[in-house]
Symmetry: C2
Subunit: 148 residues, 2 copies
């Protein structure tokens, strides 16, 4: 995503948001690190390599603005530092306690995440966050743990 740049990904338009160099840089970093679900601090490190003058406060600022504009998503797992994610499809997050990685989990074909919940009439859901913890079973660490 954003990787297969047939054209350039530079200067995207996020609904009339003033596109500063910093916002663009933060968005680009997040596109590049996407699957890693970086924290603000991690985005800051990579952004600073590309734009040494950028500050941590600005990274927080940009991440908040981009989240508000719907360009990225904020991922909160327990009380750990927020992570950020450029994947806009509806998806859940799986946090592996074996390897400390976060994976995106898609919906089953045709499934609807809301419909399993018994929502009272009149109640309108605007946002839904689904997070799971467990063992991913992919890495050596985890494939051992998964056997038990």
């Amino acid at each position: 995503m954003a990787q297969n740049r047939t054209v350039s990904k530079a200067t995207e338009d996020f609904g009339g948001l003033r596109m500063t160099k910093q916002r663009q840089a933060v968005y680009d970093v997040l596109s590049d690190l996407g699957p890693q679900h970086p924290t603000a601090a991690e985005v800051f490190v990579t952004a600073k390599e590309r734009m040494p003058s950028i500050s941590l406060a600005t990274v927080y600022n940009c991440l908040e603005t981009l989240t508000g504009a719907g360009a990225i998503k904020q991922v909160n797992i327990d009380r750990e530092a927020s992570r950020y994610c450029p994947n806009l499809q509806p998806h859940a997050h799986f946090y592996c306690t074996g390897c400390n990685q976060v994976f995106d989990i898609g919906l089953e074909r045709g499934a609807d995440a809301e419909s399993v919940w018994s929502l009272p009439a009149g109640c309108r859901v605007e946002e839904m966050h689904v997070a799971m913890r467990g063992i991913c079973g992919r890495c050596p660490n985890c494939s051992t743990a998964a056997k038990s």
Copy 2:
């Protein structure tokens, strides 16, 4: 567990946990305030009314211990202060942005929250957290907002 107790709720047994007055008090407060999903600070206020010597650190301590013992659940919504919940049934949380209240949402009869997600083979889910934001439509505030 500990829920279907026809008799008094006093002095419950949480799997060999040393039951101090403070732990009991914190658990009792949470049972009483249950549906309000209080924060640690809110539990502290009520606990202090009943036991003036209790400290905030102890409330945090007890909440963590009780969570670890599976007697209560921690509820994290965005980056706000953690809330706590004595409902041990599988359920989601609905945070109403109109009235700032948190509601428990049960599963539809026979439904399974995990099965809508396309989990990779070998991956084992140990915990799942589902949170929604929106308008509950119950309070005056919200019933107006819900019409729009």
